[in-house]
Subunit: 443 residues, 2 copies
């Protein structure tokens, strides 16, 4: 059975929105896209601007519990990490699933159709495996399914507490002990039509060069995405240079991690040589602007990376806020703050970053576009809220990217399933579940 | 007749929210504040965190029509100004009133109780005065009143198209010809319990030193606020140095503009000497972070200014977005991006900036605090939305400042009058009026 959606305005990938677009969905796929047709009585009407679903390419779901809690007093990324570890220490599969389910549902309300969960909280406190060694990963898979999102589980290798530094008490939960044990455990994770498994190297701090090479080979063999935190903080660069005489990007390149399936998360403090490497290898660079603001990471070289050949994606990472539109415009706005130049990233470029690029970097090249054959993800943004009122067909893209917020998302279809209707999740009372799940994990 | 509001949580100026606060209002004033009392059956319940109303200390209401329209292609502050001038050219008192009324109502929905309108669109296209030479100012006064906001009309002196440069066609509407004519016209504006008149020097580009001195004297004589755009762009600094051998701040200091009633708007590109001057004179510095992002102005020295003795306020300026919470957190977040340090501005500092400071800088020292004798402004932010869920009494301030948005504002009382109830304006269909008013002024 097919369903027709009649979009008042839709973004089909060009420089402007298109009026009166009918999208026909059969199962989880788009099977027809007609432009300039009137609504039929049987079509579901989507008022506003409809875009492909957003891909959240970098998430640590459990960080949602920290929202509002890490802003008192002063500190750095590193003091923030202490607070984050305290929450991590309190999680078990049930609490993790409840928190991730509510967090993923908040993402759905913000128009997200797919999430890449950078997952390294594998084991029990102290480090012993659960009876099912993938119990935590399974909790995330179940959470995404219940929230209505597609998931790429980026199963993360985490071996060291720093370069040449032992794991601390909290970090023992993160490690499989050695890279082959990581590969063995990760190999036990199954895929479904809505779940893919990718690999992640936590960082050059937590994974040594020999292990980097093995994780990269594992991902290459399977053709899966490979993600890594790269140069989020100057201290990481200094430690890496001191230990290996090269930057994190250079180290990853030397050990065969870079390539078209590789995502460098953050990529904030890069040399020109790093930018050139990431560009030449056609890597993805996942910017997480609201987190990079929150953690005082700084402004990365987004335009420089793009001009070098890298492709940008977006993540809400620590979930200080969850708003793909705020992330998208922040790429341009923070670039303006650093360069004093407007218009490095245009509205359609930013939309593509938030949709097609993100999906492709997570291993879903057939999503993130409204076109025949693509996965049927539709996110509709209201153009009649106080924030967006005054928009017309010509200015809809600019208004949505630069002025709308997650609160303006009205309707979300993921793989043909209606997940958000009239601004409400179709199956989950999201604020209530968030409040309960956060309360349950606070130390 | 008095009204009691029972606040689940309220911010009374300290480092944390307080539970169960009853605020008694008589007319436009707070006459009692009781802490730790249960709700009486007759009290109006305010669920969430109640804070004093926000003051929007720098507004150009008509810029709201540009939202979503200036983001295509590349450009600078100066190319943006061309687009802004095109809208300015299309305004008359009726269209201005409709647009300002809808824009001010959008501010009310975002929790704003008072706006400082930096008003320089005085005359007819071409420059001839209206029959009532203050017809445009009167339109703004009426708009604020209908929207339910208090207003400080910052009547702006604008004489030149640049230092030593004649006015262009659009700018002729801005000028009174000479500073005495400005003073004469401005003197015809009346005040009411909800309207004050202040003075503004558009900038050192548009007002020569002799005129600066006269506007400053006019404001000093009346004890009114005096505002000026200061060093928003490097080009202004260069032009000022070239013409006068000193910075805009130094020029304003030399001509008696600085002091405790003076607000430097933007204050982005300052020397250490400028910061010292603004600090020593205890000036206000009105940051407009979302506009400064949008116009690629750069990141100003907010912490440095505060440490020097200046007091920070906030404005939404061009209304690229209208969200006092986004402005407030942007002060800290942009400081983090520039300094790579967290926690320069704590949540209560940012709330004070958004409330008490803004009101005082606009000539309302008896507003912006929830205390006996103050003007009765209350803004209540939902703590059970998807953005704020998980907050408790201890974390309410951090959550509201760093994660809530204008969409979470549920209830707004201005001077005792309920302006927003359950997220809706009590008298205006704001999105509909915005759409109509924007359409009416587009060139």
């Amino acid at each position: 059975m097919t369903t027709d959606y009649h979009c008042e305005l839709a973004w089909l990938g060009g420089d402007a929105a298109v009026s009166d677009v009918v999208v026909r969905i059969d199962g989880d796929r788009i099977v027809d896209v007609d432009v300039g047709v009137a609504a039929s009585p049987t079509a579901v009407t989507l008022q506003g601007l409809t875009v492909p679903g957003f891909a959240n390419a970098h998430s640590h779901a459990f960080h949602r519990a920290l929202r509002g809690r890490t802003h008192a007093g002063t500190g750095s990324f590193w003091t923030w990490r202490e607070q984050m570890y305290a929450v991590a220490a309190s999680l078990d599969p049930d609490r993790y699933q409840a928190l991730a389910r509510a967090t993923f549902a908040e993402m759905a309300l913000a128009g997200t159709s797919c999430v890449g969960e950078f997952h390294y909280l594998h084991h029990q406190a102290g480090g012993a495996p659960y009876d099912d060694p993938n119990a935590m990963g399974a909790a995330i898979v179940e959470a995404a399914s219940e929230a209505g999102l597609r998931l790429t589980l980026l199963d993360t290798c985490y071996l060291h507490g720093g370069i040449g530094i032992d794991l601390d008490e909290t970090q023992r939960r993160f490690t499989d002990g050695d890279v082959l044990s990581w590969a063995t455990r990760t190999g036990g994770l199954g895929e479904t039509p809505t779940v893919r498994v990718g690999a992640a190297i936590h960082s050059v701090r937590a994974v040594d060069p020999a292990a980097i090479e093995i994780v990269a080979a594992w991902a290459a063999e399977r053709g899966t995405p490979l993600h890594a935190h790269v140069s989020e903080q100057p201290a990481e660069n200094e430690q890496c240079r001191q230990a290996y005489g090269r930057s994190p990007t250079e180290l990853l390149a030397d050990h065969a991690a870079l390539g078209e399936r590789f995502t460098a998360v953050h990529a904030t403090h890069l040399t020109d040589a790093d930018v050139d490497l990431l560009g030449r290898h056609r890597c993805w660079c996942c910017l997480c602007p609201t987190t990079e603001r929150d953690l005082a990471d700084g402004i990365g070289p987004a335009r420089h990376l793009r001009d070098a050949g890298a492709r940008l994606t977006l993540g809400s990472d620590s979930h200080a806020v969850i708003d793909p539109l705020e992330e998208a415009r922040a790429v341009e706005l923070d670039e303006r703050l650093a360069s004093l130049i407007r218009g490095s990233h245009r509205a359609p470029d930013l939309l593509r970053t938030a949709t097609e690029h993100g999906h492709a970097s997570l291993g879903w090249p057939d999503a993130g576009r409204i076109e025949v054959g693509a996965l049927a993800d539709l996110t509709t943004v209201d153009l009649t809220s106080v924030r967006t009122a005054g928009a017309d067909a010509e200015t809809a893209l600019g208004t949505v990217v630069f002025a709308a917020t997650a609160a303006d998302v009205r309707h979300v279809v993921v793989g043909g399933r209606v997940v958000v209707r009239d601004g409400a999740h179709t199956t989950i009372d999201v604020p209530a579940e968030l409040a309960a799940a956060v309360r349950a994990v606070l130390p």
